[in-house]
Symmetry: C2
Subunit: 214 residues, 2 copies
């Protein structure tokens, strides 16, 4: 059976995975691109979003593992878009254009379901009003024996960790203090008893934590 | 003029520098000794509190800087002891026995002042109901041209950071999720604009952050 994995999930020193005030112009709210600036220094992310520049080899070594062997993604609605509540219309197709970087079935958790969308490059979006366990069962069906990625945001990651459904998590701590937003670690007291946690610092200023289920 | 420094100040992944429920038996509350277990793997801390055992060289390299060139310490009352409010009696002399490891004048910030105490080995405790700026002025007088250490706990460290009085800070992140207690980073949004922050991970599982004022 495939593993449940989280990759490149970045938090500030004070544990925020996104800032306050998400909008169309600012997917991470007041955090802007500060959380993910390390990622834009890797060929992995440059390849998704633009031309290749300088590559931080250590950061890239961690970053590039994100899609290996993945057969489906589960994400929260706030990763999919800045809208809240019922959909005013159904034209929004996510932040990623016609050919999103996922290239697998992608399940969006939302209380406001809408019809599935088939994008270019193998990505399809499916909208589910479901618990983590239910969503995971559907994602497993789509993924076959490949792994499932929990794509974020923080509330979704936290829900899967709280339900003890995660096998591997790569968390990146960026050397910034965001002060406000949505935290990753809340409600996860003693998480270290369930995971072997290993830190690796990078010259970019971030620290990579791998958390492997014991 | 001496610098204002913080050393070996340890927080959990979720930013707590101490747990909930401090007591005589448990100076760090429900955190127990988990935050400081890395320190007990260093000759620096073993030398203060017991016999020398195995030494983690990298952790010790950071740890041993704590007292070099220090001429005075400022600490909060909750580092000095578990009591709250007016002193029931004045027999409490801190957690550290007759010969505390500070070996300098040590200023304890409290709304409930009491007479100074001269201990063995050069440590003296002085009780001040004072702002960070006022306490620092007195500590500077005591330290001469040597540096001042802000010894903790988190509320005291935060107050000095908020007042922009800190020149150098060494924060250690332990790979545990405490879930509750007193946080370090609250109210310090964008601290990275004032400090150059460099992480170094250790085989012990902790990550050392040096934060040097820009």
């Amino acid at each position: 059976m495939g593993q449940v994995r989280i990759h490149n999930f970045t938090v500030s020193l004070d544990g925020y995975a996104t800032g306050e005030g998400q909008s169309l112009e600012s997917p991470f709210g007041h955090a802007g691109m500060r959380l993910m600036s390390w990622a834009m220094g890797t060929h992995t992310f440059q390849g998704m979003f633009g031309e290749l520049g300088d590559n931080n080899e250590l950061d890239d070594s961690f970053a590039r593992r994100w899609n290996d062997g993945i057969g489906a993604e589960i994400m929260g609605r706030n990763k999919f878009g800045p809208q809240r509540g019922p959909w005013a219309d159904e034209t929004w197709q996510g932040w990623w254009g016609d050919n999103p970087p996922f290239h697998t079935p992608t399940f969006v958790l939302t209380h406001h379901v809408r019809p599935s969308m088939v994008m270019q490059g193998g990505t399809s979006f499916h909208f589910l009003d479901a618990s983590p366990v239910e969503a995971l069962a559907l994602a497993r069906e789509a993924a076959g024996d490949r792994d499932i990625r929990i794509g974020g945001g923080p509330s979704t990651v936290r829900a899967f960790l709280a339900a003890d459904l995660v096998d591997f998590m790569h968390v990146v701590v960026a050397p910034i203090v965001l002060g406000r937003g949505v935290r990753l670690w809340d409600g996860l007291e003693s998480l270290e008893e369930r995971f072997t946690i290993v830190p690796t610092s990078s010259s970019s200023g971030v620290t990579h934590y791998t958390c492997a289920r014991r």
